[in-house]
């Protein structure tokens, strides 16, 4: 669920706003919905990982991966025929890490702010 929420809102907001909007979005969504630190990180990571790879693939496939392969050389990857896929993977990881860590922070923030129900007495 959290995975889908982050994926959907990041997609919508990224249409209008710079990439860093994923940070507060992942933070907020995890704050709201995460069940654990692991859940928050995984959902945040894989949501943006998938989103970025999906959107990047949309551009790359219609391009015949010309640019992805050139960026592969730019990144000093060894000459292979699958450099475009590695560049896609790197893209997903960069977005995923940013989102994952923000999700984690969101979850811990809630843990610090919200008093557990038991303790409320």
């Amino acid at each position: 669920m959290l995975f889908l929420i982050i994926l959907a809102i990041c997609f919508v907001f990224q249409l209008f706003l710079p990439w860093w909007i994923i940070a507060p979005l992942a933070f907020g969504a995890a704050f709201w919905k995460a069940r654990s630190g692991g859940h928050a990180f995984r959902s945040g990571f894989f949501a943006v990982f998938s989103l970025w790879i999906a959107v990047a693939s949309f551009y790359s496939l219609r391009n015949g991966n010309i640019l992805a392969n050139r960026v592969g050389s730019l990144l000093n990857l060894p000459e292979t025929t699958i450099n475009w896929a590695i560049v896609l993977l790197i893209t997903g990881i960069i977005g995923g890490l940013a989102s994952g860590f923000c999700g984690l922070a969101g979850y811990y923030f809630r843990q610090a702010l919200v008093v557990p129900e038991k303790a409320r007495g």
């Binding site: 990224q14 249409l15 710079p18 990439w19 860093w20 940070a23 933070f27 970025w52 959107v55 990047a56 949309f58 551009y59 790359s60 219609r62 391009n63 015949g64 991966n65 010309i66 640019l67 992805a68 050139r70 960026v71 592969g72 050389s73 730019l74 990144l75 000093n76 790197i90 893209t91 960069i94 977005g95 890490l97 940013a98 860590f101 923000c102 984690l104 922070a105 811990y108 923030f109 843990q111 610090a112 702010l113």
Partner: protein
């Protein structure tokens, strides 16, 4: 505990996001760059092209129709000239915006603004050379010409209309890599790009080296090694052509040739021959069709995005096609239905250095014409990304800027090796001029008279303008602003206090060398001497070696029924006249008794070599290393003083020494006790050549082939890895018509067959798009490397239904 966890994880997340949004050294902001919504992925252009597009653009006066052919060459049809140049600016920006931005910044000395402190020295150099100063002077002149002003402003408005239509995600990928934004285009940017051409083609100078040689060896030796006319020549204007004008009197030379240079400690470098352009036209008498043919291949340092941009421009009565410079209106090399023209570089001496004597260290006054004269100070302000703004004072005399005083000269900046300290620069590129008019008039030229008229407006960099018309006229004119000088003026450093050393006006434009319809039925140029020694004026003492010209002229002289293919074949001619001249002697001097196994094998190969620098020739590789090392062995001991930069004699003089002065003392190495002979050098250089190849590639094998050794490829303009071309296995050599080297070669090849229906062919090493993510970025490179040409589509009107048009854009005012 929970609070610490929360704060710590937030801090980590925040730091991560900030660092992914920050440029770290040369690494672009990773989050921003990889973001598929706005980062580089957006530059991955679709391979599918929309057949039709309608655009509303603010600033247009009427409607414009643009047809794109299979290589995405735009064919622009406009209602009026304003809209035409507006659309040219718009569409060129669409394809080449970053290149235009970067080259202008480079020219103006403004790279530090976007790449930071590492470009400061380069920026200082560009400014101190007066690039912006020259561009400002040029704009002043152009803005006084209403037609040119309108063209430049329309072009700029078009570029800006395109820029304003972009969102950050649409910026060319290099902006994202370097993390900056495009800025608005101004007419001065067009001037800066033309100045950049002058810097490339007419910005070299030898006089510092020459003066050092004069000081070391005296006038006799200097004259002998560096004569004012080559040993072998095949001038552009055929020998014996009569001059039908009354020349102006030459200014008198000052009595004493100054011995006034102060040597500066810099590393000597071998003079690199950077040019290799060819053009020619054959008259109908020699062609199969009965109409003239014209060919041109201007050579430059090749880069991606490509130097040239193909375009067809039609409005009113004009309909011209060819290549343009991204950033300037009009077509630079091309044709229309009546005429065709092309250019090669002249290499005139239009850049001189004057020794300046300042009154005192304040440098407020300098000595000239027996009195102290005021110095003007121009303060250059360089904004530096991520660093402090640098200000730099440049002292201007009436000659021009003192490029470096001893306090201002940086250490370890190899670009300035040939610049003498404390000297003022007099350079034609500083003067106001209206060169754009020449091209816009050629675009409309119908006949020889129009061509001659157009040329009078041209100043720099001086070019050999070849011309052919459907009226069966052919002509060639080395043309530009040639200062009126005494013979040899500017071969050495000049005394800046003596008015006799100033430029004395110019050679009248109509007296520039020219020839129309010569009896041999063809005209040609290959950067060689302009004329025989009967021409009354001095233009330079040295031009490119005659080898390419000789080959072209020999072939054209015997050619009959010429067609496009025979001329294409000539553009790709790899035969070396240099090898023809010296290889037989070199081979005969090798002591074959003393060769080891590899050397013997190499000797057999090079002895049987056909003298063609084809990609698969091993003999070419051996010969190239051999003769280059020979020149080095011959001159390094005499002219290779690391404290006093000098240069080697020309290839022509070397050949002459080699063939006709076998006992010359120059063959001896002055650093050894014994006396070396010509034959000793030949043998040593031969062994060196074989050894180098063996060390690099192992035993004789296909790796030794010339294409592999030369290793041509096309690098990216900013040398971004992955954005250049792959290795191209092709032939060619500086001493062959196909003058190809590692990164220098034919930047455009064109052949035009005039006639009732003009037909033209062309190719350049790159593609129309400047986007490394476009299929049209480098789609012509293989065709170019294989020496083939594409047919250039020339639409007679926008309703001309030729095949090969894949997309049509309709532009209307909004």
């Amino acid at each position: 505990m929970k609070i610490i966890k929360a704060l710590l994880s937030s801090l980590v997340a925040l730091m991560l996001v900030i660092s992914l949004n920050t440029k770290l050294g040369d690494v672009p902001p990773a989050g921003k760059f990889f973001d598929p919504f706005r980062g580089f992925w957006k530059n991955a252009e679709s391979k599918k092209i929309n057949a039709e597009r309608a655009l509303k653009i603010e600033g247009l006066k009427g409607t414009v129709e643009i047809k794109f052919d299979e290589r995405m060459v735009p064919h622009i049809f406009a209602d009026n000239n304003y809209d035409l140049y507006f659309a040219q600016g718009y569409i060129t920006a669409k394809d080449r915006l970053w290149q235009m931005d970067f080259q202008t910044r480079f020219a103006a000395g403004r790279l530090s603004e976007v790449v930071g402190p590492k470009a400061i020295e380069l920026d200082r150099y560009q400014r101190r050379m007066g690039m912006s100063y020259g561009a400002e002077n040029m704009v002043k002149v152009m803005m006084k010409d209403p037609e040119i002003k309108a063209g430049l402003e329309a072009y700029a408005a078009g570029v800006n209309a395109y820029i304003h239509s972009l969102k950050p995600g649409d910026y060319p990928i290099e902006f994202k890599l370097l993390n900056y934004m495009p800025e608005d285009w101004q007419p001065i940017n067009s001037a800066l790009l033309l100045k950049l051409m002058s810097a490339t083609l007419a910005g070299g100078s030898n006089e510092f080296y020459m003066s050092n040689i004069l000081n070391k060896y005296g006038p006799e030796v200097t004259k002998d090694l560096f004569p004012d006319y080559p040993f072998r020549e095949d001038p552009i204007i055929p020998e014996g052509t009569k001059w039908d004008f009354k020349p102006l009197p030459l200014p008198p030379a000052p009595v004493i040739l100054g011995k006034n240079t102060t040597a500066y400690q810099v590393k000597t470098r071998e003079l690199e021959e950077g040019i290799g352009s060819n053009n020619w036209a054959v008259s109908g008498a020699k062609s199969a069709s009965g109409y003239p043919l014209l060919a041109n291949d201007p050579h430059l340092d090749i880069t991606l995005p490509a130097i040239w941009y193909q375009i067809q421009l039609a409005s009113g009565g004009m309909n011209v096609c060819g290549v343009s410079i991204p950033g300037a209106p009009g077509v630079i090399i091309g044709f229309n239905k009546d005429a065709a023209w092309g250019v090669t570089n002249v290499g005139a001496d239009v850049l001189d250095w004057y020794t300046i004597k300042f009154k005192d260290d304040s440098k407020k006054e300098y000595w000239y014409d027996n009195k102290w004269n005021p110095v003007k100070i121009r303060v250059e302000t360089i904004t530096v990304k991520g660093g402090k703004t640098v200000t730099d004072s440049v002292f201007y005399t009436h000659h021009g800027p003192v490029v470096y005083t001893s306090e201002q000269r940086p250490d370890n900046f190899s670009k300035i090796n040939n610049i003498p300290t404390g000297h003022a620069l007099r350079w034609v590129a500083h003067d106001g001029s209206n060169d754009v008019r020449t091209f816009l008039m050629l675009n409309r030229a119908k006949n020889y008279a129009d061509y001659r008229k157009a040329l009078t407006y041209y100043s720099a960099p001086a070019q050999n303008f070849v011309f052919a018309s459907v009226e069966n006229d052919i002509a060639i004119t080395p043309n530009g602003y040639f200062p009126l000088k005494w013979k040899g003026q500017g071969k050495f450093l000049l005394d800046g206090s003596d008015p006799a050393n100033d430029w004395h006006g110019r050679i009248p434009a109509e007296q520039n060398p020219t020839v129309k319809n010569p009896p041999r039925n063809f005209v040609s140029s290959a950067n060689e001497s302009l004329t025989d020694q009967s021409y009354p004026y001095y233009i330079n003492w040295e031009f490119a070696p005659y080898e390419r010209a000789r080959r072209i002229n020999t072939r054209l002289a015997v050619m009959t029924r010429a067609n496009v293919d025979s001329l294409r074949n000539m553009q790709n001619d790899n035969y070396s006249i240099l090898a023809e001249n010296i290889l037989p002697v070199l081979v005969s001097l090798v002591d074959s008794e003393k060769l080891n196994a590899s050397e013997r094998e190499g000797y057999d190969i090079v002895s049987k070599w056909n003298k063609f620098f084809n990609a698969d020739e091993i003999g070419a590789s051996i010969f190239e290393l051999w003769h280059k090392n020979l020149a080095k062995q011959m001159w390094e001991d005499d002219l290779g003083d690391p404290k006093v930069p000098m240069r080697y004699p020309s290839r022509d003089r070397n050949v002459e020494l080699f063939l006709n002065e076998p006992d010359s003392h120059w063959f001896d190495n002055v650093h050894t006790a014994g006396k070396e002979t010509r034959s000793d050098l030949v043998n040593a250089a031969f062994k060196f050549a074989i050894d180098s190849l063996e060390r690099k590639y192992g035993p004789v094998d296909t790796d030794w082939q010339w294409g592999n050794l030369k290793h041509t490829f096309v690098p990216h303009l900013a040398k971004v890895a992955g954005f250049g071309s792959k290795f191209l296995n092709n032939g060619g050599s500086k001493s062959a018509v196909n003058a190809m080297s590692e990164n220098n070669g034919p930047s455009w090849r064109m052949i035009v067959a005039l006639g009732k229906d003009v037909k033209a062919y062309g190719v350049f090493p790159g593609g129309q798009s400047g986007n490394p993510g476009s299929p049209y970025y480098d789609d012509m490179i293989i065709t170019w490397s294989e020496g083939k040409l594409n047919e250039l589509i020339y639409l007679k009107s926008k309703d001309d239904k030729q095949k090969g048009i894949i997309s049509t854009w309709k532009l209307a005012k909004s």
